[in-house]
Amino acid sequence: MRAPVETRAARSRPAPDPGRGRWPRPSLRFVAVAGVTLVVSLPFLWMVSLAFKPPEEVFAYPPELLPRNPTLENFEYVLQSTNLPTALTNSLVVSGVVSVTSIAGATLAGYAFTRLQFPGRDLLFYFLISVAMVPVVVQVIPLFLIVQNIPLAGGNDLLGQGGTGLLDTRLAIMLPHLCHPLMVFLARQYFMDMPSELAESARVDGAGEARIFFNVYLPLARPIVATIAVLAFVGAWEDFLWPLVVVSSPEVETLPLLLDRFVGSGIIQFGPLMAATFLAILPVLVFFALNQRHFMSGLTSGSVKG
């Protein structure tokens, strides 16, 4: 039964020609890759579509992916009549600040934890890294009380009593993100792979430790600086639980809190909601697009190499 089938298949197959036979295969691959990417991206495409649709099209059924009469009215509405500009500013400030503090804290510490010597160095490092494993909910409750009881802030007395401390401030939103232990870990991994001869020759030339770090190693560490910047930026940008716990007024809220309020207030207006979501995503996507190589390599560096 099998033999004739095989012969027929063999006969109908064109003669092997590596030059001609090769080219359709990559292009088929291309179609497959592009098709799958399109399907996976559908939720984003619907978001963009709805954001540019006038209200009557948003509620039309069946839904159509391409708006018939694209409009900016949803964007005008969320920018003029909602708290979005404030929330966007708050998110940018919070994420911007924590990127800078994370870069500073993590590169300095990560460098010293591998390239410099001091008693108890590795013990201290592993102790600090071990808390990166702790679930966020373990940290949130005590941190809430700590923030509430910071002395002399928000109407508190010297013992941290009587007021609200740092609750409902942008500083409070930043606190758990200023320099996550994971960033120190990533920086150390990176500096570990850099040659120590650079430092030795600089020391022979009489350079101090600070100069060696800032003038020799840091300029070569741009990839890890970019990785830390993106990770810290995104981490603070997407945080929801902690801001939900510490923020109570619209002046301080970040984008996730604003989006949550959009949904919480009765009938959902999907046009403005998608416009706001689009604007909330855009800065991160731009930031990611500029640093994508470093971000993706940063993710894998902890796994494949380590």
Partner: protein
């Protein structure tokens, strides 16, 4: 220690001081503070000072049906998302492990959901799952009645799982891609010489080579998924009928809606131990297989 070594050690301490002090104050201290709270019945709304109740809080948590049912929901949610995301992410990684035109763009586009906040993702999927949304439209095309995805106890958790798996695809794809690219090509050559077909190559070369990265992917995803909160809070608020009340949702309600901070801390520490155990046994189980 020579004078120079001492000087260098002082410099090193100055380098690590900012990060060390920060992590001590905002990560280490809260862990011990929280541990202390978990032995009390602290409630900021109650009159009087909190009482030290020892292990009483833990006993209540371990005997609490609400707690274990939320752990069950969390496991269902985490394992469901993992079971969906891992095979698809691996397939995607094999698909994009090629050099067609624009491949960098496609990889980035597939990765993009990773950098988009869960809250934003939830907003998009809120529409996809809405009455006149995309999924009901798909059902309509094949003649099935609309489903109230997020308000039905039978479908709510799976709706969240599918969304979460979608968000997890990109990151896992990139991890698998790095794994695939580190498989030595000569292994495939040797398999081909032995007459192995595509499936056999996948089964006997690709999968075993990916075991370390698989361990990492499963552990990282589980730790992350076990702490899900934002999407549940926004899309279902733990409902309907508590079918999506994951453990972080329960702890949040306990702490910040009912003000039982002591009890909530005890729950958080039980979760901590469970997550730690899960990660530990996962890594042990998967590295053990390798040795056999």
């Amino acid at each position: 220690m020579t004078r120079q070594q001492r000087k260098r050690a002082v410099a090193a301490l100055l380098f690590v001081a900012p990060a060390t002090l920060y992590i001590l104050i905002f990560f280490v201290v809260p862990v011990f503070y929280g541990l202390g709270l978990s032995f009390t019945d602290y409630n900021p709304m109650a009159r009087g000072a909190p009482d030290f109740i020892g292990l009483q809080g833990y006993r209540e948590v371990l005997a609490s049906e609400r707690f274990w049912s939320s752990i069950g929901v969390t496991l269902h949610y985490a394992l469901g998302s993992l079971a969906l995301a891992v095979p698809i992410a691996l397939a995607l990684a094999m698909l994009v492990n090629t050099q067609v035109a624009g491949i960098t763009f496609f990889r980035s586009a597939l990765f993009a959901p990773r950098v988009v906040a869960l809250v934003a993702v939830s907003m998009i999927w809120l529409w996809l799952y809405s009455r006149d949304g995309f999924f009901n439209y798909l059902l309509d095309l094949v003649g099935i009645d609309a489903v109230n995805w997020l308000n039905n106890p039978d479908t709510a958790i799976w709706s969240l799982i599918v969304m979460r798996a979608w968000k997890a695809l990109g990151q896992n794809m990139i991890l698998f891609l790095a794994g695939l690219q580190s498989v030595p090509p000569h292994l495939y050559e040797a398999a081909k010489v032995d007459g192995a077909g595509r499936w056999q190559q996948f089964r006997h070369v690709t999968l075993p080579s990916l075991r370390p990265i698989m361990t990492y992917v499963v552990a990282v995803n589980l730790i992350y998924l076990a702490q899900s909160f934002a999407e549940v809070y926004i899309l279902t608020d733990g409902g309907p009928l508590e079918s999506t009340r994951v453990v972080n949702m329960l702890i949040y309600q306990e702490a910040f809606q009912y003000n039982r901070l002591g009890q909530a801390s005890a729950m958080a520490f039980v979760l901590f131990v469970l997550i730690f155990g899960l990660a530990y046994f996962n890594i042990r189980a998967m590295t053990k297989k390798k040795d056999e």
